[in-house]
Symmetry: D2
Subunit: 379 residues, 4 copies
């Protein structure tokens, strides 16, 4: 295999997401036949010992301790950003200016303004860009999209989405950067409500108006490794908002890290004129589909195991009924990323989606502050 | 059995709800041993032929064609109001003034003001009063209440409730009084969001702030029995709102008659510091309960079939696992009504609950109008 | 209402089943418009005090302390037998000879021979007869029958049915007549496997060959009200058997009172050439239906809430989505019983079904003994 | 990395299973830190073009067109057999004699006799051996095992297992080697009932007695690529059997490829003195667990998402609630295989399990023939 056929990855950061992305780069060629073969070229991080360990564990060929060096390297085609949110913009913009394709974790940025700058940078550079809203790459969600696009649900009336977790329920769970505004921007809102917004935008369309509330249940948390030290949580623990969609649908959203019994409860329901759809990440292969014109007496939600050749991406894996997991959402995403890079047609979700998503996040925060509805400009 | 031991019922109206209430009066003595035995004394309605047919079908001894006559009768102890919403206040106030106990369908009234007048009337008359929020009488819901009262869930963080139906999804479904503001007040909002509000108030507490939206999807509907005539829907088809509770919990509510595949989807989830609860009317015997302090590895929602002697009211019926249905919520409610009348201690939910419920309904409508949050005074 | 229009009930016994039957007699006229109105004429039992109390609680007009006297009475049209199994035959045969219609609890008898005598007696007397396999009267099961009869599932390949309970799991649970062979015949096998056999015969057809095993897990149980006395369990605690059906289908059956977590787990699945069906008594309104010729990609079990007007019997009750409970199976059964009596056409399941059911029970016991397959003659 | 630290794989065959095993060899080091790193050294198959394509797709370094040559190679440590069943014995025995470790697909062989020869060969050679019953490597199943081993369920009374598929439901589905006795041995029985038997043996213990039936629903099937040619199915389409376990438990088993709506319905339930467990491959992360000594009123099956660090193997992957799929069962199995090879302690399930499994398969077939119970010798 010649060099031209490789996609040489440079990753910035090596957390949970770094591990998930890398797994996808490693496995995508096993299931699909992408034009380009991902090569784990280099990974960067500030702490040399840690980044070396990460490189070995994940399988990267080399390391950098300064992401700027990584971006300067000639042997890197794609920069993959899996750092905390407050560094996304600087890295992505620099990478674009250096002519690298960019894939960035969500949420895209700390603000709409920053997100727009990022978008402008990648567009001006003419590089391929993506944002890692991986859940829309579940075959069941892709199939939902297909059914909606084909008009099988008719005009959409309702979207209701929750993303419920419970890992902060115990007030003694220690502080992390995910609870510090300066690093993360929003808390639960930016971390997981952002995923629900992405699913809503993907499946229903743009959101034009919001009313909402952000709430913090536990204001002080212990600092890990200390005896009695605590630190202040200055972001939301939960968010809830109601919306208007451009196409007339109503939306209801809720995200929380305090919903006991929900480890990763990313769920949505969509009701249209002709039918309905339900999905739940914790059983991500299943799609529940209802058609209002099924024969009377026989109307009911169908429980569909989306592992069949008819379901997007699923045919690349195993026979029907052999279920897929969390990783496969990333593998499918990387499949689209490589296809985008090899064809020059930018895939979705990309930095434009990042901007629009950020607008909704920001509008909800503003609405929560102002105690009023807020309109969201789309242009 | 002597006269003193009877509870003589006078019913105003004879619709779906009249049939449900009557069933409960007929069966309550079979399962429980109430102090008073309900007697179906008289039923009133304007159309003599119809009310006669209803009396025969339901088993009432006599009829009246004017509810005022019914109220004047000496042989009536309790007036049961199952008429459309715009007549509740006049009948209830007259009944109270005549010294009759009163039970009234929900929503209590057309406005908070009217509701307060009704409450004042029953209190001044010293009669027993109830409002028919029957769903809180499901043994599973009563058990949820018990668990919360015992502190098993700790401080409550979240209530999310939906009441989803789909009987208006087809735009050709004809107009009824339930879509005319002058008769019904609110549409879906007053009819079924009111039930979710009652469950929230019962289980979590008073709501202090709301933001919301009411929406109509189909504005004109055919008039039944005509060829091309249509009539204007001037109430909401769906409502959605987010709330603050007095105790610091967040609430998210949604009600719709356009949610395909949901025939009677009255569902709620509650998340507290120590555990969570889920319930769904369409499988009303089941309560899902999660405890955060269950042994690690063994934490998960328990599916509890609330038909055991430990579950409120359930012991009066059948052995464990023999499921109860919709009627049993009314039988349990009537059990409490009779106990209230025989002991003189007013049961819940009553006209005070009707007032507080109406405050929330009205505040949501106002918030929807004003595009802002609205505070709800409790006193 | 004249005497001719009444159906005058004489009940023998007043246990759990007596209470369930009586409830049905009380309520059937409320939901349906039967030709005959059940009247609770008399109830018999050996202990005068107990039978008096039962009569008052259930609403019977009079009592007898000798069932033979009850059968002699002129003012009784129907004898309802809810006594332990060893007395069914004598009472039913006497009742038939006295020209009374007869309804009898299941299992019909202590043996196939006895069952045949009972059948002969009712047929010779020309009276109407039924056996109380009430579960086939769930609207969901009746709808399953309709789908199969219409050929919607095609030729049936598989029936698998379990009836799992757990009330004997604790070895300290005391002895009752249900564990004494002389009174009950079989244990779990006759009590609840009989229900699965009835569902299989109703939905799939006659069983021609069986292999099986009966098993007792706890051989001695405490005698209630004593300190240390125990008594010997001489019946099965669980039964399992595999079968051939006349039409070529395979059957797998299991019944147990030792299946923890199953309070009343009467469940079956049927797989045919064109589709499948699943049902579970603990959520008895739900029927799961799968069609193999649904569009590829959209194939999956539909969850149907059988409370709609299209579902047998369901239209008599409440609007869609208002769930029915255990009692409604008896009300529907009594509806058919009255229709049978008023038209003279014997309804099902009747004593013939009792005979065929008993043949299967007995063949399984024989197969368990002999350690071989046993053929079942049908004629 | 030095040669000593590698585990050099030689695979015989390259079907669906070859692809699944290879995936596991590729990924095991990413999630775990095994002592040996699998290297995809060589793959063999008779058709050179096909095996070359497979080697490229799967990532093997070299090919052989004769498995005997593969076995002779010095640079192979482990022979992985994924060929049809009738070649397992010859290859495995030759591999063992050549001093290679052996992993073999299930069922182990065409007969108990053959299986015993294979077991003897690996034991005499002192090589490590495994059989690919991968489903017991689901974290949920491993956790079930742990709970049972800890006595959390008490003495086991019941095992009921089904493995239901529907890919042969259509009589027009063409013939494959899986329906030819000479190549496959048993049909559905050996292919998937074998998995249920493995789960039962793993979780409950040895089976000592069986009665059963094997059945073929469609006897002739089209030959793919021909116009009208058909071929005879000479194996079973479905099997059902009831069993005694050594420890006194009862077993009920059923397997079919004709159970519409079940794509891969490998499910079991276990009931013990103190609790119960349920599992379903189609939602393989979920384990349902019931404890009979949970507080009365709060007893119910807990739905546990086995993706937490408390659940065997799960900690190696992602945070709680990020679900695992089908591949992970193989990765976990390969983890144990490598650990076995590096420590010299033979892992389970191995050829001994293959022998015992085959005994049950064969006893059921014999029982089906003889129409009687058959005892299974264990020694």
């Amino acid at each position: 295999m010649t060099n031209q056929k490789e996609l040489r990855i440079g990753m910035v950061g090596y957390s949970f997401m770094g591990r998930a992305h890398t797994q996808a780069y490693r496995d995508v060629s096993y299931y699909f036949k992408p034009e380009l073969k991902p090569v784990l070229k280099a990974i960067s991080g500030r702490n040399e010992a840690n980044v070396k360990a990460a490189a070995e564990q994940l399988g990267f060929e080399s390391i950098e301790t300064d992401w700027k060096k990584l971006i300067e390297r000639d042997d890197i085609d794609l920069i993959d950003i899996v750092t905390p949110n407050n560094s996304h913009a600087e890295i992505a913009i620099a990478a674009a200016k250096a002519g690298k394709h960019v894939i960035c974790e969500k949420p895209l940025s700390m603000s709409v303004e920053e997100a727009k700058e990022m978008k402008q940078a990648v567009e001006e550079a003419g590089v391929i860009h993506m944002i890692c809203h991986n859940y829309r790459f579940s075959p069941a969600v892709q199939y939902a999209k297909q059914l909606i696009s084909e008009g099988k649900l008719g005009k959409i009336h309702h979207f209701r989405g929750v993303y419920l977790q419970d890992w902060l329920l115990d007030p003694k769970t220690p502080m992390t950067w995910r609870m510090k505004k300066a690093v993360t921007g929003y808390g639960t809102h930016g971390d997981i409500a952002a995923h629900s917004i992405d699913l809503a935008r993907f499946l229903v369309g743009e959101i034009t108006d919001v009313a909402g509330m952000l709430k913090t249940f536990v204001n002080e948390r212990p600092v890990a490794g200390t005896e009695n030290e605590t630190d202040t949580v200055d972001v939301d623990d939960a968010s809830a908002f109601i919306t208007q969609f451009e196409n007339g649908a109503m939306g209801v959203f809720e995200a929380s890290r305090f919903a006991g019994g929900n480890r990763n409860g990313n769920r949505f329901e969509i009701n249209g004129e002709k039918g309905s759809i339900k999905w739940d990440l914790e059983n991500l292969n299943n799609l529940h589909v209802y058609f209002h014109d099924d024969e009377p007496g026989l109307q009911g939600f169908r429980l569909i195991n989306c592992t069949e050749s008819e379901h997007p991406y699923a045919g690349a894996y195993w026979p029907s009924g052999h279920i897929l997991g969390y990783e496969h959402t990333f593998i499918n995403l990387v499949h689209d990323l490589i296809e985008g890079i090899s064809t020059g047609k930018n895939p979705t979700p990309n930095f434009n989606d990042g901007v629009e998503n950020q607008k909704v996040l920001e509008a909800v925060a503003e609405a929560s502050e102002k105690k009023s509805w807020v309109q969201i400009p789309h242009n």
